[in-house]
């Protein structure tokens, strides 16, 4: 996979800091899983966190170290660190796009909202756009990240293919058009609820009653 569009440094910084809202972190983590360049950059960002962590003034602890002892089986504990992934997202990330229960949102546009933790703000959803469909010109309120899972789209900034991520500023407007042959399937996140702002509000709200 040749990746041409990467995460912004400020996005990687927020990721390394662990300060990214959940919806955005899901897209970032998915892009990182296919992008060695961004993984290398992330390690450098992590150095900053480490340096700041070590520079913190230690806060005296009142309790002793937790009691630990070797228990049978403990040493071989092999827990997976991967968080539980919604099945639709898992299917999409594995390329099983037909397994996603798509909902029609507008002519040539389908979507599937993915659940977030109860307290999480923001919006995460899969989006499918039919070949050659042109979306109306729109801006992006807040921060939005879009990872291409299949197919491609083009806009004023270039062509985004599988693995590429669109990490656009909130002051940018664009008119994306889905690939003539393949269409486009992507994972899109916003740090705000779509009914207040963002691409989906403008695109889908009048049509789908979001």
């Amino acid at each position: 996979m040749k990746i041409n569009h990467h995460l912004d440094d400020s996005t990687l910084m927020s990721c390394a800091a662990g300060s990214q809202p959940e919806a955005l972190a899901a897209v970032v983590s998915s892009h990182l899983s296919v992008c060695p360049r961004c993984r290398t950059e992330l390690k450098k960002h992590a150095l900053i966190g480490e340096a700041l962590f070590e520079s913190l003034t230690p806060e005296p602890v009142t309790r002793d170290a937790p009691v630990v002892a070797m228990r049978a089986g403990e040493a071989t504990l092999a827990e997976t660190e991967t968080p539980q992934m919604p099945s639709a997202l898992k299917a999409a990330l594995e390329g099983r796009f037909d397994d996603v229960p798509w909902r029609r949102a507008a002519p040539g546009v389908w979507h599937y909202p993915l659940p977030l933790s109860a307290d999480a703000k923001g919006d995460l959803r899969l989006l499918k756009v039919a070949p050659g469909t042109r979306l109306p010109e729109h801006g992006h309120g807040g921060t939005e990240l879009t990872l291409i899972l299949d197919g491609a789209y083009s806009d004023e900034f270039g062509t985004y293919r599988k693995g590429d991520v669109a990490d656009m500023g909130d002051d940018v407007e664009h008119r994306p058009i889905a690939d003539e042959k393949l269409g486009c399937i992507c994972l899109a996140a916003s740090d705000e609820k779509p009914r207040f702002t963002g691409m989906f509000a403008r695109l889908l709200q009048p049509l789908a009653g979001l």
Partner: protein
């Protein structure tokens, strides 16, 4: 308030200096021989720092201490995963603390897994030369951070230490989102240049 702070300072014991070599040795001992004494030392080194980190992230003292205990317990349970890691112990423990914070304080899913060793050009024990580079790199990062202009330093601290998202920083400082992001980019460029100088 000032009085309270001064009292706290007066009763504070000096903390051991963190030496990368020692810390990864301790972690290796915990991983390989489930060494309880080594674990206690790790707690002494990291407990107070994790507590401090959690408090800066908005936890009260009791919660912060619970989370420090839990972080170190996770270190004990998962030390095995560290054993091949050539990265620093601090990176690893910081990642555990960071993920626990997202989970407990933000009540969100922490999407970032622990640093994996598998995709690294694995080598077992870090050779002495790498050890030097590691230390050099950290000192360099700290030095660069100390020279950042206040406006850049501020957004970096709010992001890493106080755990605020881009939008939350923009709101806190009354700045456009784009300004927050560009300050972060500028700060990172300086750190990156300094780190890449080291070969």
């Amino acid at each position: 308030m000032v009085q309270v702070l001064e009292n706290a300072r007066a009763t504070r014991r000096p903390y051991p200096v963190m030496i990368p070599r020692t810390m990864s040795d301790l972690l290796q001992k915990v991983a390989q021989s489930r060494d309880v004494e080594a674990f206690r030392k790790l707690f002494e080194l990291y407990g107070p720092r994790v507590k401090s980190y959690m408090m800066r992230q908005g936890a009260d003292s009791t919660t912060a201490e619970d989370l420090a205990q839990e972080t170190l317990l996770t270190v004990w349970r998962k030390a095995q995963l560290y054993s091949d890691e050539k990265g620093s112990a601090t990176t690893w423990i910081f990642t555990i603390a960071r993920n626990l914070r997202i989970d407990r304080l933000r009540r969100e899913v922490s999407w970032q897994p622990l640093p994996e060793n598998r995709d690294q050009e694995a080598s077992d024990a870090p050779d002495p030369e790498e050890e030097v580079t590691e230390k050099e790199r950290r000192d360099k990062v700290r030095a660069v951070l100390a020279t950042l202009p206040p406006d850049q330093s501020e957004v970096v601290t709010l992001s890493y230490v106080e755990g605020l998202s881009h939008s939350e920083i923009a709101e806190r400082l009354g700045l456009p989102l784009g300004t927050v992001k560009s300050r972060m980019r500028l700060a990172y460029q300086k750190v990156k240049e300094a780190v890449e100088d080291i070969r």
